[in-house]
């Protein structure tokens, strides 16, 4: 026996969910292609979990349509949907052994007893827990419990596999490893997965596509690269990978390029369809270079804070265009506080944003 996948796509069509007066999800539409991993990313309370639970059938949409594959599941309860979920708390049944936990879904859906054991063992093997079947969940470490939860969801060969912040109870090292394992299994089996997290680094690492949510709505949807390089708005720019947001003015637009001035310096940036007039730009902290030597004109500033973080140093630099947050890889020769520095902007990592 082998765990296979019956991956299906997921579509939301103008879905709204209200709890009384609170609108948790507001007119959200998206599509998750079969076999891809899509992340719902956003700050706490923005409606990610609610969206995920509507896919699972644990909450019912107040409005709109939800499709899995070609089937309209909007009013189908969780039991009748072919969707599995890995919970934030794992939700392993404490009174059942690991093997009983993993085979639970198979048993209740009426699979023949002879088949159940083998399939559950396969599931455990897939997550690297062969031989742990007789233990109780409490006799496993956090990472192992997490993998049991994944195995329990996988063995049902669901059309869609859901993860709600699956790594938030693990320590930093383990988090990196487990997320790679999850991604590997997902790709090997070709599973459709929806993954919720509030950690942008995690989202960038595991996703085919990312849906950024803010205040119950979708702020932007795209590949990790698109989101990082071309954030649609201030919120996304700031939420993904930090950004210095600076007022600017577009002087002229020439085809795909725009001439922009920030505090006296002029830059050429991709116009992204914007017109002449005031705008903002997002500058990634890594896109700023600092130099102590006097290099003539250009932007100048004073280092107000310097924090040594091992692999890099974070600076806070006061400049005429505002306080800039800078990440600098040059740890060998740190710049002392209160130094006068010249500030250079690289072309990568500076983006015009509609304000």
């Amino acid at each position: 026996m082998k765990i296979a996948s019956k991956a299906a796509s997921v579509s939301f069509d103008a879905v709204t969910k209200a709890f009384g007066a609170v609108v948790a999800v507001d007119q959200v539409s998206f599509r998750v292609e079969a076999g891809s991993l899509v992340t719902l990313l956003g700050p706490s309370g923005c409606g990610k979990t609610t969206t995920l639970r509507m896919i699972a059938g644990l909450e019912m949409a107040s409005n709109g349509r939800i499709l899995i594959g070609d089937q309209d599941v909007t009013s189908l309860p969780a039991t009748d949907r072919d969707v599995s979920m890995v919970f934030q708390s794992y939700a392993l049944f404490p009174h059942m052994t690991v093997l009983e936990n993993v085979s639970y879904g198979l048993r209740v859906s009426g699979m023949a007893k002879s088949e159940v054991g083998g399939r559950a063992e396969d599931g455990l093997a897939l997550v690297g827990l062969k031989g742990y079947g007789d233990r109780l969940p409490s006799e496993l470490s956090g990472g192992q419990q997490q993998r049991v939860a994944v195995a329990r969801a996988l063995v049902l060969e669901p059309q869609v596999l859901l993860f709600d912040e699956p790594l938030s109870n693990l320590d930093a090292k383990l988090r990196r490893r487990v997320r790679e394992e999850i991604r590997e299994i997902q790709q090997n089996l070709g599973l459709t997965s929806v993954y919720v997290t509030h950690d942008q680094e995690e989202a960038l690492a595991v996703s085919d596509r990312i849906i950024v949510m803010n205040q119950a709505r979708i702020a932007q949807e795209g590949s990790p690269r698109e989101l990082y390089d071309e954030p649609a708005d201030l919120f996304v720019a700031d939420f993904i990978g930090d950004a210095n947001l600076v007022d600017a003015e577009i002087l002229a637009v020439d085809g795909p390029d725009a001439e922009v001035t920030i505090g006296g310096i002029e830059l050429k940036l991709p116009a992204r369809g914007m017109e002449r007039g005031p705008a903002r730009i997002a500058i990634r902290p890594q896109a700023i270079g600092l130099a102590v030597q006097d290099s003539g004109d250009g932007l100048r500033g004073v280092v107000r804070k310097a924090t040594y973080l091992g692999s890099h140093i974070e600076y806070s630099v006061e400049t005429p265009i505002g306080e800039l947050f800078v990440i600098d890889g040059g740890v060998v020769q740190p710049i002392p506080r209160e130094s006068d520095v010249s500030v250079r902007l690289s072309h990568q990592g500076v983006t015009l944003i509609r304000s």
Partner: protein, 738 residues
């Protein structure tokens, strides 16, 4: 058509076409009828035959409602027709069964207008039986499946069915009887509706009279009850607080002993305390004789009346106040008190400005519970009341006394119900919103500060003598069973035990010759049958309340907790009024006792269930649902196994309460089904104290044994479970703080 509908359709037809439609006189568990003329005998015939052969033509339309669901063949569940047909069949069937039940009784038409309209009826009918029960259940579940099919609660048949079942049961066995009281209160002595009769009975001097204030006559029962309840509430709260402070905030050594003492009243039938008080302070009581011999104080009957009842209730209900207050006092986060101390408050100021105000909701809660318990108490006033009339006993005498005045009993019951419901309402309204505890769940460290010195002595001075008195009382209870005649002849004897529990071997093996065996056996069986049912309905209700969201949930919760506020005497009277005549004829059976216990003790099961279910992470249920289990399977395989300790607690508690209960029971016992407590009260009324005390001690021992056995079993399991849980629970807890 799906399997659930088909199943209930089969059940419905089983009830209508095969099982006897009417109640069998011999009893619910007696099956002699199978050989005694069934199915054609009109006593035992099923509904179909009653309609066809016995001219009870009005039963025929029921078959119509049972045929309707057949129209569902080949229909899908999300077809609107499916839901509507089930709704019509369910509502129509239930309404029709109810309508014919209430309009046609033992004497034909129940209402004279109907008789004029349709002419006199040749046939009559008796209480509904197995058949009617199953058929009605089928209609109920058609109705709930119809509602589910319309999309309520995500179309979950099990949950909607459970809600429907609980509502139906609470409606029939709590609301319906209470409504019957209301109706009876409006009837005159001839049984006709006459509101002025109510006014006359309500404003009776014996209820509201204030003669005791000015002259030497006694006041009305309502004022007496109110005064008693207020003083008992205040007294038990004060004492309970003293005990709670001793246990949590002093260096007192025997804290374990105090906690152990609090278990005793739970397993003591309340009037037993009253008995012990008679043994101490009655005319031939030990203390009385001691005082008259040594000090020359003449023996009097002063204990009968307010002092005696007050004293007995204080002893009986202080532990309840203690149990409420210990939770509150322990629940105050030590860091609050420590914070106050770091802000330069001394111990006294800390107690007065921080600890005491934080306890205020707990104090109010303890007071209200004491108030309700005192109002509802029946045994102690019966044993010790003297001329001090209180509502609960007056109700009893109105029914069993020479007057047999049901209207008066109903009016008195309404007054009593008014008091307890107001207290209950105040408790829920006013305290429900306030947070009792300040436990943060964030690993509060630190210890409660000790009380200031003077307060410590005050608290010791109150609590310790009281604890000693409690011990003395229980010693008396044990001892009292072994002496010849209390107060006169103190020679030791086993006479009372022998006369109650003797066994002799005769021709046919063992003979249970003791006079108590009959009631003892009945008590054990009834308590044993009702306990699992109570636990089941309590836990199902708790599941619905904790885990499901549905419209009208607040009203639902209020309804299920309501019976807590209905005094036993009121339940007793209302059951007599409601279930003495068709369509539901239960008086004189064992079933009515079982039902009475189920609904009296249901709130206990509900609360035990709520408490432990709220500790189970909801994602466990959801995980099970997303893995394809139905909510029924989830309850069976995930929730129930994890709730085992709560189940056991509910079982034990309802078992014990069924054994100790007296107030409702005394209305419902019959020659065939006598209960231990009512038998004991009977002995007391014959001044046979020895046997009464002996029997009570045996009951206490039996319950003690039951509790310890169970605690042993559950205790072990719990330790095991804790280690099982720890790894799983912790992440959940962390994620909440994260």
């Amino acid at each position: 058509m799906n399997r659930t509908v088909a199943l209930w359709l089969a059940v419905g037809w089983l009830g209508f076409a095969i099982l006897p439609w009417y109640a069998i006189e011999d009893g619910f568990w007696v099956f002699e009828w199978l050989l005694d003329g069934y199915p054609l005998d009109s006593d035992y015939a099923p509904g179909v035959l009653q309609a066809v052969v016995d001219d009870k033509i009005w039963l025929a339309p029921i078959s119509l409602f049972l045929l309707l669901p057949l129209g569902l063949f080949g229909r899908a569940r999300n077809d609107p027709f499916f839901a509507n047909l089930l709704l019509i069949s369910g509502i129509g069937g239930l309404a029709y069964v109810g309508l014919q039940g209430f309009t046609i009784g033992i004497d034909g038409w129940e209402f004279s207008t109907l008789e004029q309209l349709f002419g006199p009826l040749g046939q009559r009918q008796f209480g509904l039986g197995y058949g009617a029960l199953l058929t009605s259940a089928a209609f109920l579940f058609f109705l709930t499946q119809g509602i589910a099919a319309r999309g309520a609660i995500n179309g979950d048949v099990f949950v909607v069915g459970s809600i429907g079942l609980v509502i139906a049961l609470v409606g029939i066995f709590i609301l319906f009887p209470v409504i019957q009281i209301l109706l009876s209160a409006l009837k005159n002595d001839a049984g006709l509706y006459e509101p002025s009769a109510f006014v006359v009975k309500f404003f009776d001097k014996k209820i509201w009279g204030l003669g005791c204030l000015s002259s030497n006559v006694s006041c009305g029962a309502a004022w007496n009850s109110l005064f008693l309840a207020v003083t008992v509430g205040a007294g038990t709260t004060t004492l309970g607080l003293a005990f709670a402070l001793v246990v949590t905030r002093t260096r007192f050594r025997a804290k374990k002993l105090i906690r152990a003492l609090t278990v005793l009243p739970i397993i003591t039938p309340p009037f037993v305390i009253g008995l012990a008080i008679i043994l101490l302070f009655g005319r031939s009581g030990s203390v009385t004789q001691f005082a008259s011999d040594l000090l020359g104080i003449p023996a009097g009957r002063w204990i009968y009346g307010l002092p005696g009842i007050w004293f007995a209730q204080m002893l009986a209900f202080t532990p309840i106040a203690f149990l409420v207050l210990i939770g509150v006092v322990e629940g105050i986060s030590p860091s609050m008190e420590e914070a106050a101390q770091t802000l330069r408050a001394d111990r006294w100021t800390t107690f007065a400005t921080i600890s005491l105000p934080l306890m205020r909701p707990g104090l109010a809660n303890a007071f209200l519970l004491g108030f309700i318990e005192s109002m509802a108490d029946f045994g102690n006033p019966l044993v010790l009341g003297g001329n001090y009339d209180v509502l609960s006993t007056e109700i009893f005498f109105a029914i069993v006394g020479a007057q047999n005045d049901q209207g008066r009993a109903a009016v008195l019951a309404l007054v009593l119900l008014g008091f307890t419901l107001s207290a209950f309402y105040a408790q829920r309204r006013w305290l429900g919103k306030k947070s009792y505890t300040t436990v943060t769940g964030k690993g509060d460290s630190g210890a409660h500060p000790y009380l200031p010195k003077r307060l410590t002595w005050l608290v010791y001075g109150t609590a310790v003598p009281w604890a000693v008195l409690t011990v003395v009382i229980y010693v008396m209870i044990v001892f009292g069973g072994f002496v010849e005649t209390w107060g006169r002849d103190h020679s030791l004897t086993l006479r009372h035990y022998i006369s109650a529990f003797s066994i002799s071997s005769g021709d046919g093996g063992l003979l249970w010759t003791g006079s108590a065996w009959n009631s003892f056996g009945t008590t054990m069986i009834i308590a044993g049958v009702s306990a699992p049912l109570t636990a089941a309905i309590g836990l199902v209700t708790a599941y619905l309340l904790v885990r499901q969201r549905f419209a009208g949930k607040n009203a639902f919760e209020f309804g299920t907790m309501l019976s807590f506020a209905i005094p036993g005497t009121v339940i007793g009277v209302s059951y007599v009024l409601a279930f003495n005549i068709p369509p539901i004829e239960l008086t004189g059976t064992g079933v009515i006792l079982v039902i009475c216990f189920i609904f009296r003790n249901m709130p206990v099961g509900v609360r035990a269930g709520i408490a432990s279910m709220s500790q189970l992470d909801k994602s466990l249920d959801e995980a099970s649902l997303t893995l394809g289990a139905t909510s029924f399977m989830t309850v069976r395989k995930v929730i129930l196994p994890l709730l085992r300790p709560a189940i056991v607690a509910a079982l034990v508690y309802s078992f014990v309460r069924a054994i100790t209960a007296i107030s409702a029971v005394i209305f419902l016992v019959s020659a065939n089904y006598d209960m231990a407590t009512s038998y004991i009260i009977g002995r007391v009324e014959n001044n046979d104290y020895g046997l009464a005390i002996a029997y009570s001690s045996v009951l206490i021992l039996v319950m003690l044994a039951a509790i310890s056995l169970v605690q042993l079993a559950v205790g072990e399991r719990r330790i095991k479970r804790r280690s099982e849980n720890s790894g799983v629970k912790m992440p959940a807890a962390e994620s909440k703080t994260a």
